[in-house]
Assembly symmetry: C2
């Protein structure tokens, strides 16, 4: 399929990201159907015209009429769904996901999948510290990064297709990484930062800190408000790269601690200048 | 002095915070004079009507005409300034600062100061990751926290006076802490967070990360853009509380690492729920 106006899109899992995809795609004129087990999410999405149709159960006809299927499920639920229902996919259907870990899931899915449909993995680098279709908002994609993770079995057609999806959703930069490169990068940029926020937030049980704080503590702990079910699963599935970066960070932080303890001011200042220089790449 | 309309305010050190104080106080109708050694800052402040008068040198008459003096200097420069020029203060003048560390400086200043003027310490918990009067903006004070650090020698009058200053500048919550409590709190909320941001930023030398990142890494490293001269001085002057919290954080982070390494998912999830619960106090 191409991104032509009569495409029918099925979104499985209507959470924050699934809901935000639905909003964008429906507004662009695609026919958007959702399957989501939470009845209140289905009701909300229908009432607010986020989707054209939504169901709490998996109906063979609904799955079979979709030209493209986007999975917004947790990794293990996604794997099980493919096992249970892949026989319903329309021949030639394109399949993608929004999963935050790749190498542990992409090869498995591609191996178990029927030969007449194709799964091309992708990861929208956008999110919020709130959950559910009720908080969905496709403005979060504007200018954000979108990562495509093809394997050797993916066709050029599928890579073009997923790139188009990123573009029409409004993403800024679209990059291609192998599943392994993706997981390495995500271990550092996303998972390590969440671990840091959690550890910083649980360091003190003083309930009055809010009366004294400035913006920096707020910024560093925004993501300390964390969905424990989703993130513990993501951490476990990406344990190796995450542990690698946790150990690098521990070492770097301990070395900073030693400089302060020993009064090595010139080394401390050099480290701060390096930090400032590296941060400059990230100034929008 | 009280905060009456004909008060003359002297601001020594016209950086980001000094400049933002000047903007707010001049708009409120006070006569604001600045002493700042950087000529381009003086020129900018005069051109943009941020102050009524500004000078690069310390003139006895200018210092002597001020009812209140606000110091926006680095701690060691502040201490030296008091030594060199305190003979010029008007009898009865009220003096405060904006310094980020307290116990290492407040007692010294109070002890060396003349008996007919009073120094009451305060700390505006507002800032930006940019510097200089050119970036000043008193909107940063709106709703922010303001901390007053009186010692046993301070008069009730000075505490009322500094509280009024915080209110007219637009701060939200005004708290009173001892210099020691202040430094303990700042070691955790501000200095530890800056150390974390620097260590996170210097963990990897990959220049392409910006193409893949989401918002969480940006949030955690905003303050990794850091003034090395100012922050290394603040860290050294508050070494004990900072080292205490760096060690607590190291332990907390290492324990999280162990949970992930050992696959102790239930403990990991409990830690995330605690983090979420504590972060809720900070939701504005």
């Amino acid at each position: 399929m191409e991104w032509i106006s009569n495409s029918r899109i099925l979104i499985v899992g209507l959470g924050l990201i699934g809901g935000s995809y639905a909003r964008a795609l429906k507004r662009l004129g695609y026919h958007v159907t959702a399957i989501e087990k939470r009845q209140s999410a289905v009701d909300y999405a229908l009432e607010h015209h986020i989707v054209n149709e939504a169901y709490t159960t998996v109906d063979p006809e609904i799955v079979g009429s979709a030209d493209a299927v986007i999975f917004g499920l947790y990794p293990e639920v996604f794997r099980q769904w493919i096992k249970d229902y892949q026989q319903y996919f329309k021949p030639g259907a394109m399949i993608t996901d929004v999963t935050g870990v790749k190498s542990c899931i992409v090869y498995d899915i591609q191996e178990m999948l029927r030969d007449d449909v194709e799964f091309i993995a992708s990861h929208p680098m956008a999110g919020r510290e709130v959950y559910g279709v009720e908080n969905s908002d496709d403005a979060i994609f504007r200018g954000a990064n979108f990562i495509i993770c093809p394997t050797e079995t993916n066709t050029p057609k599928s890579i073009r297709w997923i790139g188009s999806l990123g573009r029409i959703l409004g993403f800024g930069r679209i990059s291609v990484l192998s599943p392994e490169e993706h997981d390495e990068m995500i271990g550092y940029l996303s998972q390590l930062t969440h671990c840091i926020a959690v550890a910083l937030m649980t360091c003190s049980d003083n309930e009055h800190l809010v009366d004294y704080t400035g913006d920096s503590f707020r910024d560093l702990t925004r993501i300390a408000n964390i969905n424990d079910l989703m993130w513990s699963e993501l951490f476990m599935l990406n344990r190796e790269p995450l542990l690698k970066y946790m150990n690098i960070f521990l070492e770097e932080f301990a070395s900073l601690r030693d400089m302060i303890r020993d009064g090595r001011v010139e080394e401390l200042r050099a480290k701060m200048r390096l930090s400032t220089e590296r941060r400059a790449y990230f100034n929008k």
